[in-house]
Amino acid sequence: MSDDPLLSPRAKAGRAPDVFAPGGWIPMHAYREDEAVDFVIVGTGAGGGTLACKLAEAGFSVVAMDAGPYFRPLEDFASDESEQTKLYWTDDRIVDGENPLQMGSNNSGKAVGGSTVHFAMVSLRFRPEWFRSRTLLGYGADWPLDWREMWRYYAKVEQALKIAGPVTYPWGPPRPRYPYRAHEMNAAALALARGCEAMGIGWTETPLATLSAPRGRAHPCVYRGFCTTGCSTNAKQSALVTWIPRAIAAGAEIRDLAMVGRVEVNDAGRATGVHYHREGGWRFQKARNVVVAGYAIETPRLLLNSATSRFPDGLANSSGLVGKNLMAQSNQAVWGISKDEIRSYKGPPSLAITEHWNYDDNKDFFGGYSYMSQGPLPQLWANTQMSARGLWGDSLMAEMERYNHVVGLKIVGEMLPQESNRVTLADAKDQYGLPIARITYSWSENDRALIDHSLRFMARALEAIDAREIWTQDDDTCHLNGTARMGGDPRTSVVDADCRSWDIRNLWICDGSVFPTVGGVNPSLTIQAIACRTGDRIKALAALGDL
């Protein structure tokens, strides 16, 4: 049988790949399909991978499925942008609206470990007020979670991933020291710092989920700069090398290349398991609880594709909100040319950050943004020059020769929830015969105001450090959240604070979809904190006999 992880599953017959050893294996429990497991989890990324670990460690029987392959980074990952597109969700999707989103490489992963396999590792906490942005800041929606409780879970995740960060963090209430020391800054990060100082605002080393010292069998980061195409050294603390091995050690079973097409619901309105496609055929896994954790596009798609006569609008959708309030984050940038050689391809792309505009409320728009230093690799950079700036021909070739002198700043900006930004089902079908997602996205006035503010500010920050030929990239977005929001009221939310769906009490949603708002920081630390909390809550509910 082929050893190509994209062609045939690796996690089966009582063993799973050992991610730390080329060709290696670890023992793994195998559950029967016809005996209900306590939890079947759809998706093994930031949400699903973390929860699989927490539930298995709490003693539940867990099967976690992922449509993607099970990689061993040391042997499967090349230092190559093209080759590594194998990490992305490249099944067909349709994008429309006034500002169609870019998907694929820009947005979602398909692998055991989910998008954390290729994420940029930036690991930030929400500003406390964002959990009550409607009440305290006047926009968006309140979360049903208390920031102090989240603060405790953030600390747990930071420990679990050995986040490397600064000794003191300049913004927000005090937080404990980061477990590992901050990474050395590259020239691109130093440029950000100098710009902030010139503008009179704070900056810091970015807290990153990549090792600054050895940990177990994982080596520290070697500053190779390929992070968003997968870390071939295992320094990156992705779910693949952290939560998943822990989950398996605690008795969970992972099934790779297992695409869930439908959640089955019985006449009593309870979920009974999932239909999934593996090794050429459709199969069924029985379960007492189903967790959907496929990220903010696939999660609503699966819920909508699982409609029955009893739930004609899809599962967990009595509020009508499944698929709605999709929120990307604005990801605009300002670029310039430095007389110095910056060589921003060295090191993780975002080694320095400012969260100033997340915490300063003296602005003419709602929400906030952070901005970070950048390190685009050549294909991405050339395509940015072509698509954002319209360059091709000799002008493109000449511009590319200055690659090593490029310096840039890029935001992660808050976009407001709008019901019209949404995921629906298209007529076209994918390779499994399932209707594909249609993703509709348009920016609001507030989104534009935030973007304008950030571009003006960052342009001044680059001017202040004598960068030349400054230009703005104004069409980019990143991250996906919000299509199954949590809340305190079944009429205005899809799940409760425990990620439990209001309509089907043994159906849970635990991924980026549950965010009511997105804030101005990257989402994964929050997704993992919520998953840890959900694991604890499920354990507590089980003890009360309330599952």
Partner: protein, 213 residues
């Protein structure tokens, strides 16, 4: 244009700790691609070659990057991006239809197929495509601007910058696992990175680049 990184060859690192085994395999396969079509017809392949020469013009003094072969390989494997704009057909169909439409536009404007136009006329048509001004019926429901930005130029640029020759041209370090990099500050160069010509001293840069490995 004078070489900015004279003598730099990213392939000289192929057997160093900057390249892991997987990277060697992947790049070897890419370098072994022959310049003949597998998916496209011979005419389509020739047309892509001509278009690519406008989007990513290459100097005559070195072996060219086989852009059309790389695109053909992508089409042969039907390797899409994971999304398409409403109105855009899937990868293979979009390319076929776009190439047909471009030839139809060339016929309408100049009574000749695209690859027989003067380069200035080719560029003018590509500019009109980029601006969404081409509207021949042959485009079907596809916007010419979207085809340019999301497909034609997108795929050509990605193909070109997937090739070590292009990496040499821009002085990028290339594959870097497991060795990575050590010197992180501005104007600091690891001995296995490209040296840029400084103050017109081509020989000094060439000397350094000779030792890259």
């Amino acid at each position: 244009m004078p070489d900015r990184f004279p003598g730099y060859d990213v392939l000289s690192k192929r057997w160093t700790p900057s390249w892991n085994q997987k990277t060697r395999e992947v790049i070897n396969r890419r370098l072994a691609l022959t310049n003949e079509p597998r998916y496209l017809t011979a005419e389509e392949f020739a047309l892509v070659t001509v278009i690519a020469a406008r989007i990513v013009p290459q100097p005559g003094h070195r072996p060219p990057v086989p852009v059309a072969a790389l695109i053909d390989h992508q089409l042969d494997r039907d390797q899409g991006d994971g999304y398409r704009h409403a109105g855009m057909p899937p990868l293979q169909e979009a390319w076929r239809q776009g190439l047909r439409a471009l030839n139809a536009e060339a016929q309408a404007a100049h009574e000749a197929p695209f690859d027989q136009l003067r380069t200035a006329d080719q560029d003018a048509l590509l500019t009109q495509m980029q601006e969404g001004k081409l509207k021949d019926a042959a485009w079907g429901g596809m916007s010419s601007a979207t085809f340019f930005k999301q497909r034609l130029a997108h795929d050509i640029v990605h193909a070109y910058y997937a090739h070590p020759t292009a990496w040499n041209e821009i002085g990028w370090g290339g594959p870097a696992s497991p060795r990575g990099y050590v010197r992180m500050d501005a104007n600091e160069r690891d001995p296995w990175e490209a040296a840029e010509v400084k103050d017109g001293d081509v020989e000094a840069a060439r000397r350094k680049n000779r030792h890259v490995g």
